[in-house]
Structure formats: structure tokens, C-alpha cells
């Protein structure tokens, strides 16, 4: 009996092999994948008021260039096609459609911004094109049931808000909190996270103010927040405005415990312009290593990163934290592509992305990993608090998140 089964198996599999080699295609490919190349689509705001975020795309292009110079992935070069959408959703849609329908990319990677990605959210899922590792911290990207082709990447701002709330409850349970936040999705997510984290003690948040990117300064908002009598201040503002805020708080002689969200935590990009003496004791949540932080000066992964930076990003500002984030995201992507091997269908790419098992990337903080599953579309959820001691972000406390 067993022998017969075995023979049957052999006949079955060999006939299948014969069939396969008869032109059902040697490798399973979708549009954008060939033996030699994988085409990836991406949109970034390289112009307009949000052009500061274009650094993500530039870093990713530089990373894939290095990969190609080293031979590519599984013998294939990465053709990273990135286009400008100026952060305008109609333009994002137009560019995305061009990349999918005309350039015929295999998938979309790290497109930047909540509103731009919202514009193409439905389209990508309708067309069954993976919209991977969306470069924003909004929480809506981890919804595999309704949008199985979309996935975020970084710890989302709601989680970050919760972590801040937790830290304040632990260390200053009677604090009065003031918040300056960006008047958009990201800022509102942070606020929602803080409120959720405070739970029943929601009214610890005594004052909140927003600002527009067209505001020259946030001085008026800071003055108003000071008048609330708060003794904890959370900066949920973009790099320029966080720096302004920190400076103004010092000028007013106000000394609250200050938190700043990860977006504006670069030592070189935010704290230095604000004045190092004004930012002592600042607390942030971190999930990757800050390149302007001297504690990583001799770290092997950081040294490799600096070398890459010198070669592939000449003339660029090494203190810009957006570059290294884009780089790590690209590393995540490269891992997924490698895992996909020679099965380069969109379905398989999505499958690999949804099955990342405890991936440790050396530029992430030691306790942080990348982990996904078919029901968990939040690749990075862990973060750790860090306090600025005038030179570096000193990590303390536990690692939050799962």
C-alpha cells in the first residue's frame, strides 16, 4: 500500500513538473517583476510646505542604490521609482495610478503622509496592489480585515500618546498636562492616545492648543498654555515648531517636565537649534538610534550607516532623523523581498510582509523588533522612553508595546 502511494506521488509530482516547464511560466511573477528586476512605486512630497519629509524618499532611493551596487536581492536589481506628489491627495492618486497602470510596478512602498495615502487606500485594495510600510504613524493602516493590502510600519501616534500618558501617571500622578499639537491626523492621533492612556484621569490634560504650518511662530500658543498652570508639557508639533516651543518655554522662565514625540526628537535637528541648555531633561519615546546621538558613535550598525550616508547622500544633512528612518524602513522592505524569493506575485509579497517573525534590525533600539502576522498589521510597536542629559538620549524604563 505504502509503496503504491509513494509511486503515485512520484508520478504526480513529475507530471506536474513537466506541465510547469511547458510554459505555465518558470517563475510566478506579477507585473513589475522579472528575472532581473523588481519595480517599486513610491510617492513623497519633494516640493511644497511638507518638503522636509522628502528626506524619507531620498534615503530609500539611496538605500536601494547601495543594494543594487552590491548585486541586488536574489539576483534582481531594485528599480525604485519615486515621484513627487507635493502632499496633495489628488496628485498622489494620479501618480499612484500612473505607477500602477503605466509603469506597472509590482507594489507600493513607503508612500508618505496620511492624507496622500488615504487618497489611494481604496484604489490599492481594489487593484490588489500591496501598499506596504506606509510612511506615517497614523493608526488606520493596520486593518487587515477591511484593507488586506495596506500595512503601516512605524509605531503609531496613538500608541505613543498612550506611552506618554502611562509615563506621566507613573511618575507624576498629580500633574497638570499641556499639549501643543499639529492640526492634522498625526497630532490628533497623539491627542487621542494621550486621552486614552489617561483613561479616567482624562482631565489631567488641562490645556491643548493647535497650530498651522503657516503660523510664523507658536509663541502665542505657548503663552496661552503657560497660563493654564500646567507643569507637564507635551510637544506634539513638527520639528520647526517644537524647537520654537522649547525656546519660548525657556524664555518665559517656565520649567515644566517636557515630553516631545518621536517625530521631533532629533538632537541635531531640533534640540540643538532650540538650545541644548533649554532641552535638558526632555523626554521622548524612541524606537531607533538617533544618528546625532553620541552614545551610538562607535556602534557598528551606526558606523555602517554613516559610511553609507557619506557615499550615497553626499551634501545632505546627517542630523536629519528622517533619513535614518527611511533607511530602516527600506531595510525592512529588503528583508520582505528576500523572503519572497522567486515567487514574486503581489499575493506572495503581501503574505511575506504579513509574516515577519521577530526581525531585529541593527539600527532599531535593542529591545525593538519588527513583527507581523495575518491579524497584526503593525510591524513596529515597541518603543522605549529616553531622557536627554545634554549630550545623548539616555534610555530608561521598560520597553512598551508588544
Amino acid at each position: 500500500m505504502r509503496l503504491k502511494l509513494k509511486r503515485f506521488n512520484i508520478i504526480l509530482s513529475s507530471s506536474l513538473l513537466v506541465c510547469a516547464s511547458f510554459g505555465l511560466g518558470a517563475q510566478p511573477y506579477d507585473a513589475g517583476a522579472t528575472d532581473k528586476e523588481i519595480k517599486i512605486g513610491n510617492t513623497n512630497p519633494y516640493s511644497g510646505p511638507f518638503s522636509a519629509y522628502g528626506s524619507f524618499g531620498k534615503a530609500q532611493a539611496g538605500y536601494f542604490k547601495m543594494i543594487n551596487d552590491e548585486g541586488g536581492i536574489n539576483g534582481r536589481k531594485i528599480n525604485f521609482i519615486t515621484v513627487d506628489d507635493g502632499f496633495a491627495p489628488p496628485k498622489t492618486l494620479e501618480q499612484a495610478r500612473k505607477l500602477v497602470e503605466q509603469e506597472k510596478v509590482l507594489f507600493f512602498f513607503a508612500s508618505l503622509g496620511t492624507a496622500p495615502n488615504s487618497a489611494i487606500h481604496k484604489y490599492m485594495n481594489q487593484k490588489k496592489v500591496p501598499q506596504l510600510f506606509v510612511q506615517t504613524g497614523a493608526s488606520k493602516w493596520g486593518d487587515p480585515k477591511n484593507f488586506p493590502w495596506t500595512m503601516g510600519w512605524q509605531p503609531n501616534y496613538i500608541s505613543e500618546g498612550k506611552v506618554f500618558a502611562q509615563a506621566i501617571l507613573d511618575n507624576q500622578p498629580n500633574a497638570k498636562i499641556a499639549l501643543l499639537y499639529q492640526n492634522d491626523d498625526s497630532g490628533k492621533d497623539l491627542l487621542a492616545g494621550i486621552e486614552a492612556g489617561l483613561g479616567a484621569k482624562k482631565d489631567m490634560l488641562v490645556a491643548r492648543e493647535t497650530y498651522e504650518t503657516t503660523d510664523p511662530t507658536v509663541d502665542s500658543q505657548i503663552v496661552k498654555l503657560k497660563a493654564s498652570g500646567a507643569d507637564v508639557f507635551i510637544h506634539g508639533s513638527g520639528p520647526k515648531f517644537a524647537a520654537q516651543g522649547m525656546k519660548k518655554i525657556a524664555e518665559l522662565g517656565w520649567k515644566p517636565t517636557q515630553y516631545v514625540w518621536q517625530v521631533s526628537s532629533s538632537i541635531g535637528g531640533v534640540l540643538a537649534p532650540a538650545g541644548i541648555e533649554n532641552t535638558l531633561g526632555l523626554i521622548t519615546s524612541a524606537f531607533f538610534k538617533d544618528p546625532s546621538d553620541p552614545q551610538w558613535k562607535d556602534d557598528k550598525a551606526m558606523l555602517e550607516y554613516q559610511e553609507w550616508f557619506k557615499k550615497y547622500m553626499p551634501g545632505s544633512d546627517p542630523t536629519d532623523g528622517f533619513y535614518i528612518q527611511g533607511y530602516i524602513n527600506a531595510q525592512t522592505m529588503a528583508h520582505v523581498i528576500k523572503q519572497a524569493g522567486n515567487n514574486l506575485t503581489r499575493e506572495n509579497i503581501m503574505k511575506q510582509a504579513a509574516n515577519i517573525n521577530d526581525l531585529k534590525l541593527s539600527l532599531l533600539l535593542p529591545g525593538v523588533n519588527v513583527q507581523t502576522s495575518p491579524t497584526d498589521f503593525y510591524p513596529i510597536e515597541r518603543m522605549q522612553l529616553a531622557r536627554f542629559d545634554g549630550k545623548a538620549w539616555v534610555l530608561f524604563g521598560k520597553t512598551y508595546g508588544d
Partner: protein, 320 residues
């Protein structure tokens, strides 16, 4: 040109317009739709600025109001997409007339400032908490594209949502252009232009400045509002970020590129603002907007009266 050859050209163009979407891929049809939409918006602005002589740097606001009117009616009240378009036009007409009153007192730079202030204020207003329930706030509103009512396959391409929308937009655009042509070449148009060129004389001759000026504002706003509503359908998503201050500037660029005081110029203006940024992006990855700026300058020098100005000069030379 003889009457018969004109007729033949007319019929051939009509056929070409009808067949066009089936000869192009879906996403190209989407781009053509955007061009037609911008053309309507630019025509609206041209009525006010080109014919009426009143500068507006804030027409993006009317575009946004039209888009949001349509989107809110569809998503909150379940209204039919097609019905929302004329409603958006009417809403913007009223808004434009109301804006026209303060505009009576302001001229030149002052009007430019006031309208530019409107353009900058629009995204702020759209994000305002109090009306978030209606506007969706920063999240925006997601829409469904209208479904084609029947099936049709030509040249191997089926009547997709984009292609169906093309016909809807084309029909609306053609009627609006025809309406504008009739209006502006008649008494109303002459009154509008008289106010632009010699307001004091016009008033002395019995033209009611208040009525004509505010009506011009209203009409201009209505056109741009309709364009906005159509854009909500074409893109199927709107958010405050879809209407930055630069949109208003782009519309003005479109008016000047096409040619002030020209109806058909609007198409050239629309082609410019839709495709030149893409072309610039191809030319230079590092500073595409520098290329865009250079092309703007080149156009200003080579064609100070817009594309239509050039065409007119060519036609004049041919006649001589």
C-alpha cells in the same frame, strides 16, 4: 475657411472627442478628466479676471466649497452624485455674490490680498472642529465614483468608471463653455468688459456697477464650484490638503497661460497646470519646480498674452 470645411472639422472633432476615452488607458482618461475639470475652473476665473478685470487669488476656495458641497451631500445625505453638481454650482454662486459685495470696495492689490487671504484660510476652515462632523476634518471624505449605467466595449476597452465620468464631465464642460460664449459675446459680456476698461464711463452710461460686478463674481464662483464638485467625483477623495493655497495660484497661472479674456484658452491653461509639473519632474528630480518656474518665465516672455495670444498673432500673419 469655407463653411463646409468648418462643418467637416466640427464633425471630425466631435467624433474624436467621443472616441478618445476608448483609445486611451484608464489612467490617461483620468488625467484627461482632470484637464477638463481644470479648464472649467480656469474659465470661471477668467470670467472674473480676464473679462471682469477683478483679480482673484482665492478661487481655490470656491473649488473647495464646490467639492465639499458635493461630497457632504453624497456621504451624509446619500444624494445622487449627478444632482450634487448643480447644487454645488448654486452654493458657490451665492457665495460668489456675497464675496462680490466687499470686492466692490476693493481694487487691484487690495482685492488680490483679500482673495489670497481666502485661499489661505480655506484649509484652516475646512479643518475646523465645529464642522468636523460634516467635513470629516483632517481625515477627509472618501467617495465612490459613479457607476456607468450601461456596458459598452470599444477598441478593446470597456466603459469603466473613468470613461463614463469623462462623458459626464465633457457634456458639462461643453455646455458651460457654450453658455459662457453666449453670455460674454452679448450685452452682458460687453457690460462686464466696459466695467473692466472704463468703470467711470460705464457707470455714467447707465451700467449698474453693483449688479454686474457681483453677478460676475457669482458666475465665476459657480463655474469654479462646479469644477470642484466634479473633481470630488473624479478623485473620489477630498481632504483639506487637497486645496492648498498653491491651487489658487495655479488657476491664475492657467488663466494667464491660456490667455486673459479668452474662453478656448482655458483648455491650454488646464493642460499647462496639469502636465507641466509632471514634465518638470521628469526633467529634474532634484529641483522640478525650478523647471516649472523656468517654463513659466519662458511662457511669460514668449507669450505675454497667453497661448491664445500666440494663435491670434499666427492667424493675423496668415491673413496678411
Amino acid at each position: 475657411m469655407s463653411a463646409t470645411s468648418k462643418k467637416i472639422i466640427f464633425i471630425l472633432s466631435a467624433i474624436a472627442l467621443l472616441l478618445l476615452p476608448f483609445l486611451l488607458e484608464d489612467f490617461r482618461v483620468f488625467q484627461v478628466n482632470l484637464v477638463l475639470i481644470y479648464a472649467i475652473a480656469i474659465l470661471g476665473l477668467n470670467i472674473l479676471t480676464g473679462y471682469g478685470g477683478q483679480i482673484s487669488l482665492g478661487h481655490g476656495a470656491f473649488y473647495a466649497v464646490g467639492a465639499y458641497t458635493s461630497a457632504i451631500l453624497i456621504s451624509q445625505l446619500g444624494m445622487s452624485s449627478y444632482l450634487t453638481i448643480p447644487i454645488a454650482g448654486v452654493v458657490c454662486l451665492v457665495m460668489g455674490v456675497l464675496m462680490g459685495f466687499p470686492a466692490l470696495r476693493l481694487a487691484g492689490h487690495y482685492l488680490a490680498l483679500a482673495t489670497f487671504a481666502l485661499a489661505i484660510a480655506t484649509p484652516q476652515l475646512l479643518k475646523y472642529k465645529a464642522i468636523e462632523h460634516w467635513t470629516g476634518g483632517v481625515q477627509g471624505i472618501v467617495l465612490e465614483k459613479p457607476t456607468p449605467p450601461f456596458k459598452l466595449v470599444l477598441f478593446g476597452n470597456d466603459l469603466s468608471e473613468d470613461r463614463w465620468l469623462y462623458f459626464v464631465i465633457l457634456a458639462i464642460a461643453l455646455s458651460l463653455f457654450w453658455m459662457a460664449h453666449n453670455l460674454l459675446s452679448g450685452r452682458v459680456g460687453r457690460a462686464i468688459m466696459a466695467i473692466r476698461d472704463q468703470p467711470t464711463a460705464a457707470a455714467a452710461l447707465g451700467v449698474n456697477l453693483t449688479i454686474v460686478k457681483t453677478a460676475t463674481f457669482g458666475l465665476s464662483a459657480a463655474y469654479t464650484g462646479v469644477a470642484g464638485a466634479l473633481s470630488a467625483l473624479a478623485v473620489a477623495y477630498i481632504a483639506p490638503d487637497s486645496f492648498p493655497a498653491f491651487l489658487s495660484i495655479s488657476l491664475l497661472v492657467g488663466v494667464v497661460v491660456g490667455g486673459l479674456g479668452s474662453i478656448s484658452g482655458a483648455i491650454f491653461g488646464a493642460l499647462f497646470i496639469q502636465f507641466v509639473p509632471n514634465v518638470a519632474d521628469e526633467i529634474s528630480k532634484s529641483a522640478p519646480w525650478a523647471v516649472y518656474g523656468a517654463m513659466l518665465l519662458a511662457l511669460a516672455y514668449a507669450a505675454p498674452n497667453g497661448v491664445m495670444g500666440i494663435l491670434k498673432t499666427i492667424r493675423k500673419r496668415k491673413q496678411v
